[in-house]
Symmetry: C2
Subunit: 164 residues, 2 copies
């Protein structure tokens, strides 16, 4: 995906490295999805983790709005890269990820492997990871745009940001 | 708008006060909109201000993706309430606002009044506020949902959060 604008810089190794560090450093992010009742955009904050292979995931409850929404309409987006406490938040680099959500129910062949990996990285999740209404959602990347501060815009294909 | 779930607490004065403080304390937020090329959800970070009456606004450029997107499809959403540096970010209160975007071009009768108010609150915007490609977008609230931490969910009508 391109925006056909001269403001987008060519994708280079440094930009790819910065984008990957924003993804793998993300403990949480803003999730945009289509609201199941109104059919319009909605945005919530969610906790993030990864699969052992480095693909972004979240542990979600069937009771939450975003779970119900993504089950109806899996196209979604994530914003990662949180501003520091000091300085202009709009100069802090952030990455907008366009994704397609896939749910991994507890019966999925990869569930246990991802559960164990997630528990290791997010020990507090042991409080609810085995609740019957919780499952994983995997965010498969379709495109990404990074804003590294004024005049520092980049776009990426899924291949650019492949975790391995 | 209700979600028909027993998890939503009754809206009381304390919840309204907390939600209003999240709105009026917001210097930036996550903006969810429909991507003009893909037609799927997208999310970016934007700076926020208010009109003199206290309605959320942003100063945006015609060159930016979110401006082009909101001109095509004005239904959007904002997430405000940023986590503190310490503690679990998912326990920090945040507010999801469903909005309809209205653009105020430089020729609009209220432009000058809002410009002066914005300059007072965001002095750094003087660097670009008078650029020809900049205009204001006003976020008219249609519904709101607050997550005040585990088990503390509320929903609001626009009337509940009216600034005055």
């Amino acid at each position: 995906m391109t925006q056909n604008t001269p403001l987008i810089r060519p994708t280079d190794d440094q930009a790819i490295s910065q984008a990957k560090s924003l993804i793998f450093g993300a403990k949480y992010g803003s999730l945009a999805f289509t609201h199941p009742q109104t059919g319009t955009p909605f945005v919530t904050r969610i906790a993030l983790g990864t699969t052992p292979e480095g693909v972004l995931i979240s542990l979600v409850s069937d009771l939450s709005l975003h779970t119900q929404a993504l089950q109806q309409a899996p196209d979604c987006a994530l914003l990662v890269g949180e501003p520091k406490a000091k300085g202009d938040p709009l100069t802090h680099p952030r990455l907008s990820l366009q994704c397609r959500a896939e749910f991994l129910p507890r019966t999925h062949e990869n569930f246990q492997k991802i559960r164990d990996h997630h528990l290791k990285n997010s020990p507090k999740s042991k409080l609810y990871i085995d609740f019957a209404d919780f499952k994983f959602v995997v965010f498969h990347l379709t495109a990404a745009a990074m804003n590294g501060g004024f005049g520092k815009a980049y776009q990426f294909s899924p291949g650019d940001l492949h975790p391995t």
